[in-house]
């Protein structure tokens, strides 16, 4: 009797559990745990992305989507990402990547072509149509299409493949000491010496060309104990600084600006296989442009003479109060305003980067774009791809982008930048917005690292006075011609 009673109880319990499971099943069957691991450089723009994701991301699919960041220090970022991709470990579902790596990792079969996904999704299409053309050109297209082509051919442009979206669009701007540039004594001396106004306001900096910048360099070279502003220099003080470093791309980014502004060209990957390197890279215009770049190194801190004036070194020297002004990435602006890291946190202001004055009086500020896109990898399952694209949509929502811009980041969305509030979110926003229209990019082909390393080496020899600008560019042109012919990119 007892046994049959127990049997009955078990039977009822089983039925109850089964019924409960059936009732719950529809909701639970759709909800899945999806973890996206993203390779990211370890710096504030990606740290903010993670914090904001944890605060505000909600998956429309109802899935439990987690974003795990694998933070990698900048100096080893490329090597670590490349090692992970080529080892086949398939660790990352999304990657923050430099735009130059697109060709290398697209050809290798690691970055996913998103053209069809974007076409199918009206929200993603709207994002593409709202992004600045310079960013789509540099961050998304491979084979690379020029900003003008993207401007003329909105998404989906013919014969164009899209891979990335802006994680952090960056441009270089001028960081300057307003306590010195707006100082009456300094302004008077500058006027006397160069018959020019010392730039103080943002509007003044809009009129600064390389000649004025060179004059600023000459003007602010001081020895320890010399008068400086309303006091005296407590150490040797230097006028200007810009990138002149051998590592990675730390002179190419600035040299390219000089080349483009002077009307020269680098090897044009958008015109393969007709575009040549020899005769273009070492053209008379390019030599003149590179000589112009080299001519101002004398007004920079002596580290420039060692070829080690990379973006972090010039930022640091500016923050330690050793230079009057520097040209550096917006992404490195936040520490400048932090009293814990900067001696000039309350004395700094920002303006557009200088450029070359044309015959009609306008200033050409063409520069090399910085920042990074983020991409999806090819081994993701359809569920992970869908979740990753949700992350893209969330990140490029105007609300998220405004929060990002208010916390030291930048937006690539034209609608966000058009908001009158945008300029006042951070002190460099206005300059960044102005500079964005002038951006172009270096090559995206898989051979980029060889081209870049050899070029950096030759630039470095010229920067350290071992060879002339002409010799450096001749060597670069020869190497590029040979390498690109071997790769079948030049006929």
């Amino acid at each position: 009797m007892k046994r049959s009673w127990e049997g009955w109880l078990y039977g009822v319990s089983l039925v109850a559990v089964a019924a409960g499971s059936l009732m719950l099943a529809p909701g639970q069957a759709n909800a899945a745990d999806i973890t996206i691991t993203m390779a990211a450089p370890d710096w504030p723009p990606t740290r903010f992305m993670k914090e904001e994701f944890d605060r505000s991301f909600k998956s429309a699919s109802g899935n439990n989507v987690k974003l795990e960041m694998d933070y990698i220090p900048w100096p080893s970022f490329y090597e670590r990402v490349a090692a992970s991709l080529t080892s086949g470990e398939q660790k990352y579902q999304m990657i923050v990547t430099d735009s130059q790596w697109l060709g290398s990792f697209v050809d290798g079969g690691y970055y996913k072509d998103l053209t069809e996904e974007i076409k199918k999704d009206p929200e993603l299409t709207a994002i593409m149509n709202d992004l600045h053309p310079a960013l789509i050109s540099a961050y998304s297209t491979y084979p690379n299409k020029s900003p003008q082509f993207i401007k003329d051919n909105p998404f989906p442009a013919p014969d164009t493949h899209y891979y990335g979206f802006p994680q952090f669009p960056d441009t270089y701007v001028t960081f300057y000491r307003k306590d010195l540039f707006c100082n009456e004594t300094e302004a008077k001396k500058f006027q006397e010496s160069f018959n020019q106004k010392l730039p103080c306001t943002y509007e003044d900096w809009q009129d600064v060309d390389w000649t004025t910048y060179e004059n600023i360099g000459k003007h602010f070279m001081r020895k320890k104990g010399d008068p400086l502003g309303d006091g005296v220099a407590d150490d040797d003080f230097f006028g200007i600084s810009y990138q002149a470093g051998k590592s990675y791309d730390f002179s190419t980014m600035q040299v390219n600006a000089f080349i483009w502004q002077h009307g020269g060209e680098i090897w044009d990957e958008t015109r393969q296989p007709e575009a040549q390197a020899e005769g273009v890279v070492n053209s008379e215009t390019n030599v003149k442009a590179f000589e112009h770049y080299l001519s101002m190194l004398q007004y920079m801190p002596p580290v420039a003479r060692t070829g080690q004036a990379d973006i972090f070194v010039i930022q640091d020297l500016y923050m330690q109060g050793k230079t009057a002004t520097t040209i550096d990435w917006v992404g490195l602006g936040e520490p400048v305003l932090d009293p814990k890291t900067s001696r000039v946190h309350d004395k700094s202001a920002f303006g557009p980067a200088p450029g070359l004055r044309k015959e009609d009086g306008t200033i050409d500020r063409t520069g090399n774009i910085g920042g990074q896109p983020f991409v999806l990898t090819t081994w993701n399952s359809p569920e992970v791809d869908a979740a990753a694209l949700e992350v893209v949509k969330w990140w490029l929502k105007p609300e998220t982008q405004k929060k990002f811009a208010a916390n030291g980041g930048q937006s690539g969305l034209m609608s966000v930048m058009a908001d009158p509030e945008y300029d006042s979110l951070r002190p460099w926003n206005r300059a960044h917005k102005e500079m964005l229209d002038w951006q172009r990019d270096v090559w995206h082909v898989p051979e980029f690292f060889e081209l870049l390393t050899q070029q950096q080496e030759e630039f470095d020899k010229a920067i350290t006075g071992q060879i002339t600008a002409q010799e450096a560019l001749d060597s670069i042109a020869r190497f590029q011609q040979q390498t690109l012919e071997d790769a079948g990119r030049i006929e």
Partner: protein, 311 residues
């Protein structure tokens, strides 16, 4: 002995693979097996694999099937002027650095072979550099040479009034690398030489003193014969190590200015992990390995000679 035989018999009699495996005659190989497996997986297999790769056209960046190309990459590496330039740079750095280490290490050993106050503490301090990580030494010297606020530049500026950029010229950069490497490894040479110096029997010096032999004569006929094979050991060991120099150079100058300090080690790294010319980098790495094997053979020969001398 008898009890273990009984246990073994019991195990055997219980039968099965485990019993067979744990038989006394197999226990030795069994204990060594994990180490051999690790050695094979971590050293021998990658070595053979990369050697095989050097005969194929393969880039780790691409997923293409490798093509067999025979000795093409060895030929390319040997005929590449850049490789020879990097070998030349490496040879300059190796010879300068090893010479500096030898001189400084020898002088330090002479100093520390005598007894003086605070000797032990000073000896510990002198030995510290070789215990530091190479990366830490690279960063330390980079800051030391920094021309705007670095110590060297500040010191020079006190006399000349101008900042000094040691790493701004090819010669200066090589000197900078050599100083950093010599600073780190001279204590190692000192230790070896010191071991030789303390092994010289005291009565030989006492006899030489009775014979009124000069200091130079004493060194020539007593000290040097005792330490010469240790010196040779130090030279060979440091040559092999410096030949593979990478960390300090990469952090201090990244091969610059231009390519003035780019050693063969840095160049292999660029080929393998920046250009992803996997096969070519493997071929070059095996040529370097060959050079190191030749040097190691000399090193082992010196070790054997020293052992014979001691006997």
């Amino acid at each position: 002995m008898a009890s273990s035989a009984v246990v073994a018999h019991e195990i055997r009699s219980e039968g099965g693979f485990l019993a067979w495996l744990l038989a006394p005659q197999r226990r030795g190989p069994l204990l060594v097996a994990p180490a051999l497996i690790v050695l094979f997986l971590m050293n021998i297999f990658p070595l053979l694999w990369s050697f095989g790769l050097s005969f194929y056209n393969y880039s780790a960046k691409k997923r293409d099937v490798p093509d067999f190309v025979g000795l093409r990459f060895f030929e390319r590496v040997i005929t590449d002027p850049t490789v020879w330039e990097r070998f030349k740079t490496t040879a300059i750095i190796v010879s300068s650095s090893v010479l500096a280490q030898l001189v400084i290490g020898f002088l330090l050993a002479l100093l520390f072979s005598k007894q003086f106050p605070l000797r032990r503490i000073l000896l510990m301090l002198v030995l510290t550099p070789m215990m530091l990580s190479l990366v830490a030494v690279g960063v330390f010297f980079k800051l030391f040479y920094e021309p705007t606020f670095g110590l060297v530049s500040q010191a020079v500026a006190m006399f000349t009034g101008d900042r000094f950029a040691l790493l701004g010229t090819p010669t200066g950069a090589i000197i900078g690398v050599v100083i950093a490497d010599a600073w780190m490894w001279s204590p190692f040479v000192m230790l070896l030489v010191l071991a030789g110096l303390v092994s010289v029997p005291k009565y030989l010096y006492e006899a030489a003193e009775i014979d009124r032999a000069s200091a130079w004569r004493r060194f020539q006929t007593i000290t040097f014969p005792y330490i010469k094979s240790l010196l040779l050991l130090a030279v060979l060991f440091r040559t092999i190590e410096t030949f593979k120099l990478f960390d300090v150079v990469y952090i201090l100058t990244e091969g610059g200015p231009g390519s003035a300090t780019e050693t063969i080690g840095v160049y292999v790294y660029r080929l393998a992990f920046q250009y992803f010319r996997t096969s070519q980098s493997a071929a070059l790495a095996y040529i370097i390995l060959f050079v190191v094997i030749v040097l190691t053979s000399l090193y082992l020969y010196a070790v054997n000679r020293r052992a014979q001398e001691v006997d």
